[in-house]
Structure formats: C-alpha cells, structure tokens
Amino acid sequence: MNDMALLLWARGPGLQIALVVFIAGMLLKLFEIFSLGRKKDLSTPRPGKAWSGLKTIFSRSLPDKTLLKRSFPTYLMGYTFHIGFFIALLFLAPHIELFRNTTGLGWPALPGALVDGISLLTIVALLLMLGYRLYHPVKRFLSTFDDYASWALTMAPLLSGYLAFHHLLLPYTQMLALHILSVELLLVCMPFTKLFHTVSLFISRWYNGDALGHKGARL
C-alpha cells in the first residue's frame, strides 16, 4: 500500500470504523454508568444547591489553592498539556476544516506558527508527565498498563502531527496518514481506557458538586 492509498484509507474507511467504535463505545459507557442509578437524597437540602453541580463542572478546572504549591509540577504539566492539546486540536486550520466539514460548525484559526509552538510545548509537557509518572512514588505506585497506554495513545497524534507539520522523519503524505490513523486509534480506545475521563469527568464533577451543594458545602 502506497502512502496515498494509506492516507485515503485513513480519510475514508479508517475514519468510518473509528467513528463507529467511538460513538457506539461512548454511548455504551454512558449507559453502563447511568444504569446503576442514584438514590434520591431524602435529606432536606440547604438552600441554593440548584446550580452546584453545574458550577463544580467549571470550578473544578481551577487548581486547589492549598495544593498548588505542594503539587506544582502536576498542575503545571497538567495545565500545559491540556490547554496546549485543546489549542492544537481546536485552532489549527486543517482541524477546524474537519469540524466544519463534519458538523457544519467553524471558527477562526490561529496562525500556524503559534499553534506549532504550543504543540511543541504540549509534547514537552507530555514527555515530562511520563517522566514524572515514572519518578513520583505515588504516581508510579498507582500507574497501570492503562496509564501508559493512554499516554502513548495521546502522544501519537501530537507527535505525528508535529512531525507532519514540519515534514520530518517521513514523507508528508505518510506522516499525515499516520497522524490521522493515530487519531483514529485514540478514538477507538477512548471509551475503553482512562481516556474516557474526557467525558466522565463532567459527570463526576456534577455528582460531586451536587452532593456537596446539597449540604451547603463550599465547592
């Protein structure tokens, strides 16, 4: 299979397969979670709890002030990676074109050079995250195959995208095909690895905030 055929497979059947597994998998996981139900809390809530779940979805994106100093590397790498990843995902022109093509929604792109710099920073952050995971006693202790696999699944699109953008290592067509394939692999694995946190964290934050808000606790 030549590079172009690989690219076309990635843009055609590969994407179809990945999307089917991704969408079906995500829905299945949501059913899996919600089917376990949650008992209605019969205790009298404190006033003003209505929006606490929603509020927590946003507020939990901010660092805990007492941990900021103690766990600074985790926060620094975590924020750099997540913000960088989403900028690269959402503000590179070719990516926006993909969203526009599939969903009809589009928005202005950031200059390629800026996204490029941010991507590099993101890759560095992700590399440091792996190093820190191997070095930090707690992280190393907690880590399972899933953690390392998820790391690799996330790194692959970033790195292949970066290399493709700069025409490094492999011919562009081949690297672009690998980039798209790596994203497809990420989509396929997302429902079944810890990468599912991208969706479930909103559910978790909502439940947490709702329960704490019920008690009138600060969020």
Partner: protein
C-alpha cells in the same frame, strides 16, 4: 529511422549553434535541479550522445499527455529534443499511416532490441482479457508485453500509465492498471500528472541521454528532481497558510488577496510535482496561481480522494450514516448492558441480609 549520428551533430545539422545548444543545456540543468557548474559536462555528454530509438505507445488515455507535449512545435526545447531523438513510432501522431506505422514499430523493435526507450501513456485494461482497448486488433495488454521485452527502460507518461489514473478510478469497469502493475522486470520511470509537465518528460529523456542512466526515483518511481517536493512546499501562497489566512470561497476577499486555498480543497500538501516552480504554459502560471487549488493529479488514486473542493483534513466519505449506525448500535448495546447491570444490582439488593452486630463478630471470627 535512427543511425549512428551524434546528437550534437544532428542539432548542428538543423542549424542550432553551440551557444544555442549551451543555452539549451543550461535550461535543462536548471530544470533537473542540477548545479550550473555541471552545464559544460552536460553539454559535452549530450553533444556526443547517440540518437536513441524511442517507441511511444498510447493505451487507454485521453491524448492529453501527447497534447501536453506537442501543443507547440520546434521552437520549444521540448519539441527540439523530441525531434532530435528518434521517435520511431507514435501511435497517435502516426494514426493515419496505418499498417506502415505498425511496420515501423516492429522494425524498430527488432533493430534496436534491448536498446530502445519505450514511452507509454494511458492505462492498460486487464478485464476480460484486455478487450476494452485494442490497436490494430492487438490488445494493449499484449502490445505492452511484447514491446516491453526489448526495451532498455520504460517511461510511463501521465498518471494513467503511472498509477492507473482516471480509468482506474472507482468502480474501474475495465480493470485498468498502471504499467508497473504489469511489467516487473524493466526499469520504469513514472512521469505522473494529468497531464504531466511537458518539460519533465523532456528532462527525463535528457537525463537518460546525458548520463545513460535513469534519474534518481522516489518510492513511486518518479524522478526526484521533479517530484522531490510538494506543491505546498514550493507554493508562493505558503506564507498565508502559515499565517492562517485562507480563502473561504473562490470569490471572497481572501481569494482576491491571493490567500491559501487549503480550505477550498487544495491538495498541494500531499502532491509532489514541479508545477509551483516549473509552472505551465511556458512558465506563465500554475493552477494555484490561477486561483484554483491543486487537484493532486500526479498522485495515485487522485480521482478517489474525495471532493476536489474539500480540505485535505476532511473525510473522503460522508460520516453521517456511520455516526447514525454507531449511535443505534451504542444505544442497543448500552441498553443491553444497562439491563444486565440493573439485574445484577437488583439481585444484590434482594440478596441483602440484614447485618447485625453479631454478624460483624461472627464474620470476623470466621476469617481470623
């Protein structure tokens, strides 16, 4: 008919001066991306080169490649070198000659066996024994096999000959394939493009004449000198891509400002060809300069690569149906696992044994 006359002598016979020849060699060097310091060596080699015999076969094609090459005559370098070399058979150009032409082809094939260059344009239909394209009652498939036997090398001119091209596009009713799908034991140079840039054909021939070898090829069998870089890399609109400035439609402000055509479906990033530097129509312009994105015509499967007007980063097939099917599957599968989970939980609830303080101790006793 070819003879043992050198190329230089031939050209001078036609009234071309040495300066003119040198100028021609300089242009050729520039075309092949060879350094200017090599021009004297090229001139010396070409001067002494013997006229080779060339046989040109046209198969399942649109004549665009021949048109590209011959759309102007002797004053151009391309025309010159084609005239200078020995074109012993060109099916399209000699169509009127009928049996005489076929006889010439066979004579040349016999006389220069093992030495002639075989140029092929058009794809080769293979379905149903190759009946979909025949010349003088001989199928393209048979003619290619026969002509390839005595060829020193084969030049597949145009995307049809190089990769199958338009006839190969889905659903490919004639079973069209590229030359390289059929001939495996001869050196093949793919000069892809729909049509290929005429000077690229000449450049390949010039290289063969000058050095007696094939030029360096990429992994798709194309000469690196011309296909070494993507259209995107050499595009004068590249800075706009880097700045994130894109034309959104063919007549908007961005289009008028000459911004990047990526979002309008330009396939420049994955298309390797010399259009952006060599340009077309004697260096006038190339498609992007005329405001239209690159179609990717020098790449395999370019007809099946989705819309010409959708960006490279988009799916080549609509995803809506797949998404709907997936959603349905997810809901059905999800409902099944949900039912299962509820069943397990309900069983646990009904299996609940009230825990008393005595149970705590008994249980502890049991395990300790």
């Amino acid at each position: 008919m070819s003879d043992e006359q050198s190329l230089g002598a031939l050209l001078r016979e036609q009234g071309i001066s040495r300066r003119g020849f040198l100028k021609f060699c300089g242009a050729m060097a520039s075309l092949m991306a060879l350094p200017g310091s090599m021009v004297p060596a090229i001139a010396a080699a070409l001067d002494k080169a013997l006229r080779p015999s060339v046989i040109w076969l046209s198969f399942q094609e649109c004549t665009g490649c021949t048109e590209s090459l011959t759309r102007s005559h002797s004053p151009t370098l391309e025309g010159l070198i084609l005239n200078a070399i020995s074109l012993d058979y060109h099916h399209t150009l000699q169509a009127a000659s009928g049996e005489a032409a076929e006889a010439a082809r066979e004579a040349a094939m016999k006389q220069f066996f093992g030495k002639y260059l075989l140029i092929v344009d058009g794809s080769i239909p293979t379905k149903d024994g190759g009946v979909y394209s025949t010349i003088a009652g001989v199928s393209n498939l048979d003619m290619l096999h026969e002509a390839a036997k005595g060829a020193a090398a084969i030049v597949a001119v145009g995307t049809c000959a190089a990769f199958g091209g338009l006839p190969h596009a889905n659903p490919n009713p004639t079973g069209a394939v590229a030359v390289s799908d059929i001939i495996r034991d001869k050196p093949i140079i793919n000069v892809s493009g729909c049509p290929p840039i005429p000077v690229v054909i000449t450049g390949v021939l010039a290289h063969y004449l000058t050095f007696g070898t094939l030029p360096e090829l990429d992994d798709l069998g194309r000469p690196k000198a011309f296909y070494g870089e993507s259209i995107h890399d050499r595009c004068y609109r590249r800075p706009f891509y880097d700045q994130g400035k894109f034309a959104k439609t063919f007549d908007d402000e961005g289009a008028r400002n000459g911004w990047c055509l990526f979002e309008l479906g330009c396939k420049g990033p994955t298309t390797f060809n010399a259009c952006a530097t060599t340009k077309w129509n004697q260096g006038t312009s190339f498609p992007i300069e005329s405001g239209h994105g690159c179609l990717g015509c020098s790449e395999p499967n370019f007809w099946d690569a989705g819309s010409f007007y959708h960006a490279l980063s988009t799916p080549i097939t609509p995803v809506g149906r797949a998404a709907a099917v997936a959603a349905a599957a997810g809901i059905v599968g999800g409902a099944a696992i949900a039912m299962h989970n509820r069943h397990v939980k309900a069983a646990a609830r009904s299996g609940h044994q009230t825990v008393t303080v005595n149970d705590l101790e008994q249980a502890s006793g049991e395990t300790k």
